[in-house]
Amino acid sequence: MLVDVGFYLLKGLVLLIGWAAACFLLAGVQNSDRWLAAGRRALLLSFAGTVACAAILVRAIFEGDYSVAYVAEVSEKALPSIFKFTAFWAGMDGSMLMWLLFLSGYSALAIATRPQSQRALVPWIGLTLALSMLFFAGMVAFMTNPLERLEVLQADGRGMNPSLQNYWMAIHPPTLYMGYVGLVVPFAFAVGALVTRRMDGDWIRTVRPWVIWPWLCLGVGMVFGGHWAYVELGWGGYWAWDPVENASFMPWLAATAYLHSVMVQERRGMFKAWNASLLMLAFALSIFGTFITRSGIVESVHSFARSGIGPWFLGFVIAIVATGAGLLFWRWPDLKTEHRIDALLSREFGFMLNNLVFLSICGVTLFLTMYPTISEWATGKRFTVGASAYTEINGTMAMLLLVLTGMGPVVSWRKASARSLRKSFLGPLILAGCVGLALFLAGIRQPLPLTTWALSAFVIACVLGEFHAGARVVAAHRAVSYLRGLSGLVGRNHRRYGGYVVHLAVAMFFIGVAGMAFRQDAEAVLAPGESVDVHGHHVTYVASSPYQTGRSDVERVDLRVERGGQEVALLRPEFKIHHKFPEPEKDVAVRQTAAGDLYAILAEPVDRATGRAKIQVLWNPLVTWVWIASYLLIAGTVLCLWPQASRRAEAT
């Protein structure tokens, strides 16, 4: 009964959201507070309705109502409770409802917390949010309704794909979706600012946390996805330049470009049109990514089943791009810059270069992702571009980015002299040269990792140099200790020093990623007591132990790891054969250290007659630094968003 209510409630939401859009339009055209209040009420009510539908779906999953098609498709009686909860977004229909849930949540929050200074923008922000919601509500209600009943009742569900039954999958998709969907709010602000011709700095400041939050969610969501791939897919890596990975990477790049270039607008009143374009691009790319994964236009390991919603998403992307381009064209005369560039040797010009590199990587990634379709148009045959080409091309461009990551914080606004640059960069350059030389002499000859590590040292030296010099100045100015000076420095400008922490995280991330160039691997069919050596680790197959879970037959092997004659770990990789799914699952075992991960895979079921097991062992250098970098990125972003002490004092 409740499921049927939810089914029709989703359809009813379309009408309600349509009404909200109409109210906001009238509020904007007539400048009417009455219509604005009506629109706000309708939007908040539609959020409540979406929450109710989501709750009904979760309840149906937990109660095991297998008369609901979606529940029967992604859940089963024996599914552990945590995965019954994640079943909400494990399939296409549920994930679309989650999109709508987040979208309506963001919209309600944006409208409910509207700043009074932005009153004129609110109707247009509301209209943009409502129209976006209308699109998703329409998709959910009429194309992918997760509360649709089956014609034939089933006793149990099919169950969730075993590879999705992983704790990283409990947080990876929601985090990523919060990033994708969150970009709608800055887009709506940009539309509002353009329509009302209020292109001053006010809306830029209001929208700042609304950009940083989805940017953080996208970045962290990608890392969570990398974690999942690393421990679940059993191929020893965390990023394969798969179209779905690229789909989250591209809007993140556009948002990162914006977060840099907007500083120029705040400080100098420049790049107004460019910044508005970047916000529109970021949102368009987030929808385009959804189009890629749900249309089947390119093959992906993550692709949802092909469905008829692809063309609708393409239409929505076109509508976003057309709206953005149209508004920019319409308001072009209002977007004139307040200042001009004073010198090429300036932070402003550095940000222009930074944006060029970010958008080049974004454009190239888009091009390579779409290459199967492009090559089919051009040559009549579909060609897929493998991970090695992405790494080579984007890796080379990322070197430019690393240089700018180090230089950016140091170069002065307006105009920097060659002499000041020489002074600022001499130390970091010497350090980078020494690191490069040391690595070269140590036998590292591969150009990309060698350059990456040297440039990462440059970035770290530049950023730490900024902290050090600033702490010294503050300590001297206030006559306090160096550490209190450092704390005072960071406390006085969270945004700047949070950004510098993010730059450190970027350098650390590159250090970790470059380590994978030195991956070593071995594979052996071993009898108990036999061993294989990888990167100084002596791995001995001790014994195997099969067991059953009720849903799968599991083979587990014990691998004793010795280093320098000392036992350092016992690894237990597993091979699972699921009763309901044909694909076997390899649960890897990983020993993590700062130097690298020892990664063990049981490649096949153990031969019961001989006791032999096929073992693959990988040495993945420096992977831990990638995960640490992601935590540092979170810390830096939180610092950026943390309110300044003076503002807090004013507020109280």
Binding site: A240, T337, I341, L356, K381, K415, Q520, E523, L526, A603
Partner: protein
Amino acid sequence: MRRRSLAALCLVASVAASSVLAAEVEPPAQACVGGASAPEAAGFSAFEREDVKAIAERVTCYCGCPHLQVSKCFCGTADSIRAEIATRLDNGELPDAIVEAYVKEHGEGILAVPPRIGFHWIIWLLPPVVILVGIGALVLAGRRWRRPEAAAIPATLSNPLEARLREDLRRTVEEGS
């Protein structure tokens, strides 16, 4: 003088560090495997052979994991492809001929990266062209957008970092008070 000493110190440190690193960074030599008998070892020897890896890098696995090269895929299909590559190499076939054979059998889509011929050159030419043209355009635009009186703006002071920090500090203290 102090700077020179610092540079010299860094140089010495880098040479010392390199010797430590040299001990740590092992060349990606074949891993030593103990115990497995020859027939069972066929798969793993193919897995670790550098000549097999070089070819396995060039083709993607057709197990259903798009984008994963045979060298990086650990499924049974990739195992058998690696073993087959090893056998073909042992039979005297040349690497290009082996890749060509896979293309004939499975189509050009099996290639991990499209061949560097004809239209596919765009993959390799587009990124540097975008970057170079972009930088050129930005420099030209930057010059055009430059204020005519830009030359009058003094370059930063003798210690630019300190001057900038002092200015920022002054501003934040004033704002805070």
